[in-house]
Symmetry: C2
Subunit: 150 residues, 2 copies
């Protein structure tokens, strides 16, 4: 079985997309992360959901989570506001989470090995430099374990 055979459609966002739009995509699909591309469409990075969560949290609370308990409730609207102001590119850290990129004729075991090494929730599959789909870790588990009885 080859990577190209199991790749599925998946939301892909470019660096220029608003962080709020990216967050909504993850929220709607309850996705663990998104594939981020350069402005020209080349695969760039994984944006894990926790990275967006981190960005929402005010800096002084990121530095010391105990402060959140002291300051009490921060309104949900304030958190969303932070996301509305930036693009996905601005939200990514200097060394973003590496996106595993496989060719469509790579084997599923190669894909699994690379995904595991990079500790990534997903992997992009490309053909002629274009992303033809994504394989998530849980989709891979479904393929391997899904149809069998115990």
């Amino acid at each position: 079985m080859r990577a190209g055979e199991i790749a599925e459609p998946y939301p892909v966002v470019s660096l220029g997309v608003s962080a709020l739009a990216a967050a909504r995509l993850m929220a709607q699909g309850r996705l663990p992360g998104l594939v981020v591309t350069e402005l020209d469409g080349r695969p760039k990075a994984v944006l894990p959901a926790w990275e967006v969560v981190r960005f929402m949290v005010p800096d002084y609370i990121q530095a010391d989570p105990n402060l959140a308990g002291v300051v009490g409730d921060v309104s949900i609207e304030r958190l969303a506001e932070r996301l509305a102001k930036v693009s996905v590119g601005e939200l990514l850290p200097a060394t973003p989470m590496e996106l595993p990129v496989m060719r469509s004729d790579d084997t599923v075991v190669e894909l699994a090995a690379v995904m595991a090494r990079l500790r990534s929730p997903l992997c992009a599959v490309v053909e002629d430099r274009e992303i033809i789909g994504v394989v998530t870790a849980s989709h891979l588990l479904e393929l391997v374990c899904g149809g069998q009885s115990s």
Copy 2:
């Protein structure tokens, strides 16, 4: 808003459960990870989906993913077999991924800060030492961004 108000039901497995059963739970729900508890029910760790993917891959291919291309296809059945032989406890690494555990009266911002610091796809919420539910990073994004217009 407090952690206890937004916690949702979520699969929780103990260390003694078969790794194959845990993998199936993740597969069926397309979940990024599971909450793992000690045998007595105390929260223990996050089992990310990629950790299970890693375990499926034969050791010599984990060491050098290029070898997967050389040996050709490894059958899906062989990968599932590896999972059927071990428990979740045996599959966890010596230093497993830390599970964020919040109290139900912690604020959502505290929860977000801790989740972000641990780079975790999910967070357990406890009341009287018992897990009452889980908040995933994407659920948190849904709460913050879901209902608003751009």
